[in-house]
């Protein structure tokens, strides 16, 4: 087997860069907990359904479970792929084989050493029940060459395979072989992470404790994204489900909670005055967005969609949607991300009523009703729809809100022939995951894009999207992404409004807590 080394080199570079980033200089020591002990009580807003990471797509599952489970590869602080349980990965020159070497000395929380037999069993399970198992469709087979060498054989070469493979959306976390036969949602919570499972009481809390057998990744100096040098400084962590924002704030103020996610904007000014609390804004948590139904009038008409786009004042929409916690953002990536581009920026935030009226006239619009499908479960989606409807009425569009609950709106959005024209949602994790993940919603067979038939799908966009997936170099893929984003915006296949900031907060004695897409509890300790 002839193997290339560019991925290994990239991974080593990533490791080195990360190490330098967090350590500052080569002589820096690995992170050592200045103090050990205590229990962190962290409030999370969304209820946890299950801790089975293979079969749950919800953020709330990830929030908790990623402190206990680990994958062969994960994402670093900037969401680039990095090794976690893998010591190395080598891709063959033809891209048809990936060889993973496992790190030595990894043990599961049940004390059993992790071998490639566990990896094989995990992949078998993920292929059978994993929600995102489509990422393995390009894989022909996998095998354990020996106890520490795991090989993937591809059906077709896919340059972005490791990017997809390291996704933390529904990650392929490695579990003991004896647990891998579990039915969906039934997986025992036994992983290899710095924390191990103690107790899960649905709608109440999930408790985990330090795993003393954890083998930290010594290639790094500090935590890096979901990987890096991790260790549990506190004895235990209690993720408490606190759905009521006021109760989260109250808990923080009294000290019953040591941290909380999603602090409401209205409370932030007060909390800033409180020396016992530190706010930790997490910029670019998600993109607030609306997607059109291009199968039914009037949104099947490009001129009409462009009129809508021209009329939009994104500041007004985002201000209402987020109570001011936002940034304007063109497109589907954020500044600083590999794929960020301003392609299509001329279409964004035009606030041009005159142009909108001209385009409306050109489209032949006769005042037909246009339905904005939204929900009240997510206030920011509802508020965005409300403001958008008023802006569109101002240019002469007969906009009507259809407000139902989130599950019903999502189901309604699946149908192209039902009465909706714009669907309000948010792109979170997938935007963080990079180019392909950020735009895949607009490419068949995903459900967000609604051409009447697959044949009606926008061919120029599809071609650009495939080029993101298959571009041989990062530069090729970035160029394809820019083209695809420009096409989505030009054809108004989506209306990205801007990015939302989510504010996490901790008590002042909680040290080394860095805001991230999931609350990471490794390397966090109490001072004093």
């Amino acid at each position: 087997m002839k193997l290339g080394s560019h991925w290994r080199i990239r991974l080593l570079l990533a490791s080195a860069a990360a190490t330098a980033l967090v350590a500052g200089d080569a002589s820096a020591q690995q992170f050592a907990c200045p103090k050990k002990g205590g229990e962190i009580v962290f409030a999370q807003e969304a209820k946890v359904n299950s801790l089975d990471q293979h079969t749950s797509s919800t953020i709330s599952t990830r929030n908790v479970a990623m402190n206990m489970f680990e994958s062969l590869m994960t994402r670093d602080e900037n969401f680039n792929p990095m090794p976690e349980l893998a010591a190395s990965v080598e891709e063959s020159k033809d891209g048809m084989t990936y060889v993973f070497k496992l790190r030595d000395g990894i043990k599961f929380h049940n004390g059993k050493p992790m071998t490639t037999a566990d990896v094989v069993a995990t992949f078998d399970r993920y292929k059978k029940v994993g929600i995102d198992r489509g990422i393995l469709d390009v894989v022909e087979s996998w095998e354990a060459k020996d106890a520490s060498t795991f090989i993937l054989h591809m059906k077709v070469a896919q340059p972005t395979f490791l990017e997809n493979f390291s996704s933390f959306s529904i990650p392929i976390v490695i579990v003991p072989a004896e647990n891998a036969k579990a039915e969906p949602m039934q997986l025992a919570t036994v992983g290899t992470g710095p924390f191990q499972f103690v107790e899960f009481v649905a709608d109440s809390h999930v408790k985990m404790k330090r795993y003393d057998g954890y083998n930290a990744d010594t290639r790094y100096k500090e935590i890096d994204g979901f990987g890096g040098y991790k260790q549990a400084c506190v004895d235990s962590v209690n993720f408490r489900i606190v759905t009521e924002p006021g109760a989260r704030v109250a808990g923080l103020e009294t000290g019953e909670l040591h941290g909380a996610e999603d602090v409401p904007t209205k409370s932030q000014e007060r909390l800033k005055q409180n020396k016992d609390i530190v706010l930790k804004p997490l910029k670019n948590f998600w993109i607030q967005i609306a997607t059109p139904n291009v199968s039914i009038p009037p949104t099947d008409n490009l001129k009409f969609r462009q009129a809508v786009q021209a009329a939009m004042d994104m500041d007004e929409v985002m201000e209402a949607a987020t109570d001011g916690a936002y940034q304007l953002n063109i497109g589907f990536q954020y500044p600083g991300q590999n794929f960020y581009t301003e392609a299509g920026k001329e279409t964004y935030n035009q606030k041009n009523a005159a142009k909108a009226k001209t385009l409306l006239a050109e489209s032949g619009y006769k005042g037909e009703e246009m339905i904005l499908l939204t929900n009240r479960d997510y206030t920011n989606m509802y508020n965005a729809a409300l403001v958008m409807s008023e802006q569109l009425k101002a240019v002469g569009i007969n906009a009507k809100l259809l407000v139902i609950d989130w599950p019903a709106s999502v189901q309604m959005q699946q149908n192209t022939n039902t009465g909706w024209n714009w669907f309000f949602t948010g792109y979170g994790t997938n935007t963080a995951l990079g180019g392909v993940a950020a735009l895949r919603f607009h490419a068949p067979p995903f459900n967000t894009y609604k051409p009447k038939t697959p044949e009606d799908a926008d061919k120029e966009f599809i071609a650009a999207f495939r080029a993101i997936e298959n571009g041989k170099t990062l530069d090729e893929r970035k160029a394809a992404f820019a083209k695809a984003q420009a096409r989505v915006l030009d054809q108004v296949l989506a209306l990205p409004f801007g990015s939302l900031t989510k504010v996490q907060a901790v008590r002042a004695n909680v040290q080394n807590f860095k805001p991230f897409r999931i609350p990471r509890m490794s390397n966090v300790y109490f001072s004093g």
Binding site: S50, M185, I241, E244, T254, F446
Partner: protein
């Protein structure tokens, strides 16, 4: 009396059957697909089909209905689509939480509502009566979620007397249980106390005007004996009905309160199930609640029959 109880229990069976059927049918009609919520809105049609097949949601209505009743007759309420455990287990786990808060709230309601209603009636048109009625009006008018939030701000944050949320089982710590359930129980009790105080007062006033009370007074019986032995038993008849209604209000009102105070009870369980379209959980939960309310009603009827023997012969 035994025959009366048996009759009431037999009458409950078709009602429970109807509740189960209606809840099943409603779930089929309500828009929202649990498969989309499990797989995520961006899932491909093929992924959604896989999830639906795994859950048996791709089966025709009659197949799902037959399977539901077959399981139900064997005492199996199904398995939650999201919690990964049997519906009955999930419900039973939450029962002590909800029941303990409901009972705590009920005790507060009975103590405050009955006593203040009786005192108001006996001190009719005095400042005591007016104060009690003002308190009752406040209780009836105040939304319990608002009261809950105010209590968190004052008792939890400002004075720091009670924890702002969470639940500690009484098996772990009685003091912890008392601390975590007091604010939810008081929030729930406030409305009901007002209701009960007003009903008790008006019923008591009506009873006090009856001939037999006048006779008792004429015989020279002491006031406590007139109230305790003659009046109270008759006051209890309409009050029992109100207590039944109050208990159902406790169950329905608990969804909001459990959410505000982060209490993992049945209200919270059902609320989540509805938002997730967890069909088995909703059907099982509704059936459980309906059966509980039915048994409660039967208990009230039995007590009614005890206090007023004429009821047994209706």
């Amino acid at each position: 009396m035994g025959r009366y109880i048996l009759n009431r229990l037999i009458q409950a069976i078709p009602v429970i059957f109807l509740v189960s059927l209606i809840s099943f049918c409603i779930m089929q009609l309500v828009p929202g697909d649990p498969a989309i919520l499990i797989a995520g809105p961006s899932a491909t049609p093929a992924e959604l089909d896989n999830v639906r097949r795994n859950l048996g949601l791709d089966q025709p209505f009659y197949v799902q209905l037959t399977r539901y009743y077959t399981n139900l007759l064997q005492g199996d309420l199904g398995r939650s689509l999201f919690l990964g455990k049997p519906v009955l287990d999930a419900t039973i786990e939450r029962l002590p939480v909800s029941m303990s808060i409901a009972l705590y709230s009920m005790v507060l309601t009975l103590l405050l509502g009955l006593l203040s209603g009786l005192v108001a009636a006996m001190r009719q048109n005095t400042w005591v009566d007016q104060a009690v009625m003002l308190f009752a009006l406040l209780g009836v008018s105040m939304p319990n979620f608002w009261l809950g939030l105010m209590m968190i701000v004052l008792l939890g944050v400002h004075w720091g007397w009670l924890p702002t949320g969470g639940y500690i089982p009484y098996t772990t710590s009685f003091y912890g249980w008392l601390a975590t359930t007091t604010m939810p129980a008081v929030s729930l009790a406030m409305l009901n106390t007002g209701l009960l105080a007003r009903i008790t007062r008006s019923t008591m006033l009506e009873v006090l005007r009856q001939d037999y009370i006048r006779t008792a007074k004429a015989k020279g019986l002491p006031g406590w004996m007139i109230i305790g032995k003659h009046a109270l038993k008759n006051v209890m008849i309409p009050v029992m009905t109100v207590i039944g209604i109050i208990f159902s209000l406790l169950l329905s009102g608990s969804l909001v309160i459990e959410s505000i105070f982060s209490v993992p009870g049945i209200g919270s369980l059902l609320g989540s199930a509805i938002l997730r379209r967890d069909y088995p959980m909703i059907q099982g939960g509704l059936l459980f609640v309906a059966t509980s309310l039915m048994l409660l009603n039967i208990t009230v009827d039995i007590l009614y029959a005890y206090f007023d023997p004429r009821v047994r012969y209706d």
